[in-house]
Amino acid sequence: MKIRDNVDRFIKENKIDQNWLLYILFIPVFIYYLIFSYIPMYGATLAFKEFHVGKGILGSPWIGFDKFRLLFSLEYFWTVFKNTIIISFGRILFEFPIPILLAIMLSELNSDRYAKTLQTIYTFPHFLSWVIVGGIVKNFLRSDGFVNNVLVYAFNIEPIPFLSSPDRFRLLLYATSVWKSAGWSSIIYLAAITGIDEQLYEAATIDGANRMQKIIYVTMPGIATTIAFMLILKLSNIMNAGFSQIFNMTNPIVNEKIDIIDTYIYDITFKKVPDYSFSTAVGLFKSVINVAMLILADKVIKKLGGKGIYS
């Protein structure tokens, strides 16, 4: 009966008998993650198997790294990979600074009420899907859309083919993303600015600092940590270049310039004869880099004194 005693003691010591209800309450949560997160994680082994529809993931035979070899030998895969990285960095370069600028400008506004009103307007598009925003933007920028009509009839300029110039389409992605999300992203910086000690501004005033100097020497250092954290988060997310937006804005003329890993996976799986193993391999390749980046970012943030990304 020794085992029994040990088990009893274990249960008593860890209060499992008192907390049994909590464990039962957790079961649905456990099952949810098991089914919708962990089974697909296991399913990623498909990247190393040759998928047979009849046999399922479990029964399909192992083939090792064949699909990855195939993947790495495809020229178009590297195009897509490059696009993903370029667009992600482009977003950091063009999209990342705008919310910071917006927050500083809003906080410098004389009327708090006007600042609030503007903020209300800026934040709204964040709550719409890219389906809606894509639809509105595509209409707005058509060759006979609002912008081009203004250019042609008010300024007598040739219409600009916004939606069909491959070289400029990435810029259009950044611009529309700023339109949709800059207001939302600025909230976090606004909050950081609000948290700056008022006395610092007063001291700067006494020292004779003007508005610009106060922004540079008080506001900027005050939100530097927030900026650093947000930048690390963005960098760690480099493999996600914005599927929803690109998927809803792309067209055949510009697609090669903005086709990213996620859109590529969708296309090869659902528009052509699917090779599930190959598609899984592409996804796994992306996931692995993604995890590495996230773990790295988590480490860096903890080093900088934060609590880590997700805890």
Binding site: N19, P40, G43, L46, N139, P252, T280, Y310
Partner: protein, 291 residues
């Protein structure tokens, strides 16, 4: 925002700052305004118009045409089902998870935490997920959209942080009175957590309303398509028609109809926006800047 800057004299800096911010505001509003106006234009006027700020003869014909086909009613039905059922399901799961993970001295809690956090770092990808839904026989049912949306780990941890901030003394006195964990959750924790619950309810509602991706992957029957997917398909009709319209007789929707569809998909979010606005700062603050 800062209080001392009132009664300050307007400088050039202020004026330029104000003008730039106002311009950005107008840039946000203009495309919406334009879309709404086009939805009220006749097809003839749209084709000829330069940049009319108002339709000359406002018409409801675009709206009539989308309301006449049954698709809009079906779409609303799908979307509302997804939102209502999805919200109840997801709030239940999220609350349970957050509550359990917020309890102190629970054996195995560290494992549970890791169990929910690991999926934030690593996912199996689109194909294994697709095959899972297929194997569960959920294709062409709304469950394929609802069931995977059970928990956003981020929101769950947000809620857990809030639960943890509730003073322990309240819980202890309830426990002394012999209240079970479930009664504790219902009578103490939840009533004290209304701000965070409201925030997450609103955000989840928006996300469920905006759902199109899973619907696109898993719902082949067009009678099940939610609003967003119906809109997406209508918007894309133009890409197809360039080459194949004449051949296959695909319906090409006019810009008026497309924009009317945008409006009917967007209006509920606009109605929800005042409430969202009340809570979004809280939502983003509790979670995002903990560093």
């Amino acid at each position: 925002m800062k209080s001392k800057k009132k009664h300050r004299q307007l400088t050039i800096f202020d004026i330029i700052n104000g003008i730039l911010l106002t311009i950005f505001g107008l840039i946000i509003i203009l495309p919406f305004y334009n879309a709404v106006m086009i939805s009220f234009m006749t097809e003839a006027e749209y084709v000829q118009h330069k940049f009319a700020l108002f339709p000359k003869e406002p018409t409801l014909s675009a709206y009539k045409s989308i309301f006449e086909t049954g698709s809009l009613r079906n779409a609303y039905k799908s979307t509302l089902t997804i939102v209502v059922v999805g919200l109840i399901y997801s709030m239940t799961l999220t609350t349970l998870g957050a509550f359990v993970l917020s309890r102190e001295g629970l054996w195995g809690k560290k494992f549970m935490l890791h169990f929910v956090i690991v999926p934030m770092y690593f996912s199996g990808g689109m194909i294994p997920f697709y095959l899972l839904i297929k194997n569960l026989n959920l294709i062409d049912t709304l469950w394929s959209v609802i069931l995977p949306a059970g928990i956003s780990t981020f929101y769950m941890l947000l809620m857990r942080n809030f639960f943890e901030s509730i003073p322990k003394s309240l819980e202890e006195s309830a426990k002394l009175d012999g209240a079970s964990e479930i009664r504790l959750l219902i009578h103490i924790t939840l009533p004290l957590s209304m701000p965070i619950i409201a925030t997450i309810v609103l955000f989840t509602t928006v996300e469920l309303w905006n759902e199109w991706y899973r619907a696109m992957l898993f719902l082949n029957k067009s009678s099940l398509h939610p609003l967003q997917l119906v809109l997406k398909n209508k918007l894309e009709s133009v890409n197809i028609n360039i080459n194949t319209q004449a051949l296959e007789g695909i319906v090409v929707y006019s810009e008026g109809v497309k924009m009317a569809q945008v409006v009917v998909t967007m209006v509920p979010i606009m109605l929800l926006y005042p409430f969202l606005q009340k809570y979004y700062v809280k939502g983003i603050m509790v979670g995002a800047v903990k560093g």
